[in-house]
């Protein structure tokens, strides 16, 4: 008695054009057991309210020009036991969970997730392994640094190289393409197994894979400018890359690929930029180098954080370098074809004096790679002598 029943006047709006949004909104404001009068002028309103109420498990009674609906527990029942899946912005330590449950599935971080378990499996779900506070910033940098091969490279720049030097460039490009293919596949394979709660990691690795796709494109395009066939691909080079694809552990794979491999490639790309005999080679090496530096920075950042949380990781990293060295022991180092192509590319001509200069430049490149590797290993907390030993064991294939 005296209890006011709220009334919702829909005007001409019927359920065939979305009136249920307004009805639900009004019902949600009521406690279970509360009633709402819904009226309007749509000729089908009474019929449709009755049907809709039955489908929604609501109480229903006819009134002129509408219906009286009773809120039951069924409305909103779907959200009993729902969970808050962290926070969308990774602002605090708690906004990203240490071990998000698989049942959150593909839900956006920060969403309210209906209770249930569809049997999702994300093998990579530990913040300790995946996360770095820098990931959001690196992702934004990566996006800002994207370049379009069609625009960023002047493919019409005029140049003519001696046949031997052009062949050497094509051989180096052939080698780079297969290395970049490994660098695309490794993050792509892990990407598919990462819990989507670590949104920024997914995003950054997706861009990283896209970076490599673009590198493959520009190296292929440079190799094809003057030649219809590409260069040689050796079993030794591929065996070295296969060990990267075969590494099942996330931390070890990114240590070998990004810190040591792509780190060495930074030196190589700088070398190619500096010694390129033509403007296109110089440009594609420069562009790829900028991207690779970001890949190295990401791996260093998440491995540093991981090392801070897991004291057992550092010896495992060292063991991974040793195991890879053992696996590749039977194979010769950098294949002759690539080594000689690098010498010739830096020489720029077939003249003996030029060859000598090219040879010196390649030796300097190897020394530069070694120094940079040791520096990065020390950044990860390895003692200088240990860093020196491990750097020496790194694959002679560079990647």
């Amino acid at each position: 008695m005296g209890v006011h029943t709220p009334r919702l006047d829909l005007g001409a709006l019927g359920l065939e054009r979305g009136a249920q949004l307004l009805v639900k909104h009004a019902l949600r404001a009521l406690p279970v057991g509360g009633t709402l009068e819904v009226v309007g002028t749509d000729p089908h309103l009474g019929l449709h309210l009755r049907t809709w109420a039955r489908q929604q498990g609501l109480d229903w009674a006819a009134i002129p020009a509408g219906a009286r609906l009773g809120r039951t527990a069924a409305l909103g029942g779907r959200w009993v036991g729902a969970e808050q899946a962290g926070e969308s912005v990774a602002g605090s330590a708690e906004s990203v969970h240490e071990l998000p449950p698989a049942r959150w599935g593909l839900a956006a971080r920060g969403a309210r997730v209906e209770a249930g378990d569809l049997g999702f499996e994300f093998a990579l779900d530990r913040k300790e392994v995946l996360w770095t506070e820098r990931v959001g910033e690196l992702y934004r940098q990566a996006l800002a640094a994207q370049w379009d091969p069609a625009v960023a490279v002047d493919w019409n720049a005029p140049f003519t190289l001696p046949d031997e030097v052009e062949d050497a460039v094509v051989q180096v490009m052939t080698y780079l393409i297969e290395n970049e293919t490994a660098a695309l596949l490794v993050p792509a394979r892990f990407l598919a197994r990462i819990h989507p709660h670590f949104r920024e990691v997914l995003q950054l690795l997706a861009v990283q894979a896209a970076d490599e796709a673009r590198h493959i494109e520009v190296f292929t395009r440079r190799a094809s400018m003057k030649r219809t066939a590409l260069g040689l691909s050796t079993q030794g080079g591929q065996a070295s890359l296969k060990t990267l694809l075969d590494e099942p552990d996330y931390a070890l794979a990114f240590f070998l690929l990004s810190v040591l491999g792509e780190g060495s490639f930074l030196s190589l790309l700088r070398f190619l930029h500096a010694h390129a005999p033509d403007p296109v080679t110089a440009r594609v090496a420069e562009l790829a180098g900028v991207d690779e530096a970001r890949h190295v920075a990401f791996a260093l950042a998440h491995l540093k954080r991981h090392l801070a949380h897991d004291p057992h990781l550092r010896p495992r990293l060292a063991a991974a370098v040793e195991a890879r060295f053992d696996a590749l022991r039977e194979l010769s180092g950098l294949n002759e074809e690539v080594f000689e192509a690098l010498v010739l590319l830096a020489a720029g001509s077939f003249e003996p004096q030029a060859i000598a200069r090219g040879h010196d430049a390649v030796l300097a490149l190897k020394a530069d790679m070694d120094a940079a590797r040791r520096h990065r290993l020390e950044q990860l907390g390895f003692a200088p002598d240990e860093a020196e030993r491990l750097s020496a064991l790194h694959t002679r294939n560079f990647m």
Partner: protein, 284 residues
């Protein structure tokens, strides 16, 4: 007293591929609750009812027409049938007779001599019950009105919505002067645009009736059937482990079975002598 061993076996009609998903899901859930359960799918309700009476099933998920078939067969064989449970959404359905907005018809009587589109011949909601409404208003189907059937998947008792949709489309194309459909399908067709907004009008609506139920025959193993019913009635929409199944099957809660909602369909079956050929064949 002989104890039942082996799974409790349910019969259901495969009106859609999702039926496998639904009953696989129920089977797994019943297992977690300690009830060994299995199911058999049929392509049509008549075969299911016959299998039920031959002892191949312990209970059947029956359409309202299949329930009446089971009742009629039970009466002949001096057996007893019981409806033990149904969905909340099986209760208090209605069907509507829809005409174009510009139609001059104001009452059912105005449809005399017209073409009336209905669903499948064996659909209670889209054919038998609306035609009873017409007949009881003085329009005998076939004599006073021309009935245009939209037979999609006969034997499935209109569970497949295609027949009603075809009737709605035929109405908009002007091939028929009125179309009969379940109220829920009128809402669905209005929302998905099959019934263009403002293009049609509801001329008449049937009284409320009930739809499917779980049917049990005498002699069914009492203990697992009771457990089955108890588990159903205990299912809560709040429980995520069953919510998906309830969503698939289109309900918020299971209710005890009731048979008071089948009177219109019984009158329709009687008036149109709809089951006589089948009953004769089964008895034969």
């Amino acid at each position: 007293m002989k104890r039942h061993s082996g799974p409790l076996v349910l019969g259901a009609v495969a009106y859609d591929a999702k039926v496998v998903t639904i009953w696989d899901g129920f089977r797994a859930w019943f297992e977690t609750q300690g009830l060994t359960f299995d199911y058999v799918l049929f392509t049509n309700y008549e075969r299911q009812v016959e299998a039920h009476f031959s002892g191949a099933l312990h209970l059947a998920w029956n359409s309202p027409l299949a329930w009446i078939e089971a009742q009629r067969l039970a009466a002949r064989q001096r057996r007893r049938v019981e409806a033990i449970a149904m969905r909340d959404s099986d209760r208090d359905l209605t069907s509507v007779v829809v005409v174009p907005a510009r139609s001059s018809a104001r009452t059912l009587g105005d449809l005399r001599g017209k073409r009336i589109g209905v669903g499948a011949q064996d659909s209670p909601q889209a054919t038998l019950i609306p035609l009873l409404l017409l007949a009881e208003a003085g329009l005998e189907p076939g004599r006073d009105v021309e009935v245009v059937h939209h037979d999609v998947l006969l034997g499935k008792h209109g569970d497949h919505v295609g027949g009603e949709r075809d009737a709605a489309r035929a109405l908009l194309r002007g091939e028929i002067e009125a179309a009969c459909m379940l109220d829920a399908n009128h809402l669905a067709f209005a929302q998905d645009g099959t019934l263009v907004s403002g293009a049609t009008r509801v001329l008449a609506q049937t009284p409320v009736y009930d739809h499917c139920n779980f049917t049990v025959l005498d002699g069914a193993p009492a203990e697992p059937v009771a457990r089955f019913r108890e588990l159903l009635l205990g299912m809560s929409y709040d429980d995520p482990s069953v919510r998906r199944l309830l969503d698939l099957e289109g309900l918020k809660a299971w209710q005890p079975g009731r048979t008071s909602g089948y009177a219109q369909l019984e009158r329709a079956v009687e008036r149109f002598r709809f089951l006589e050929p089948w009953l004769a064949a089964v008895a034969g």
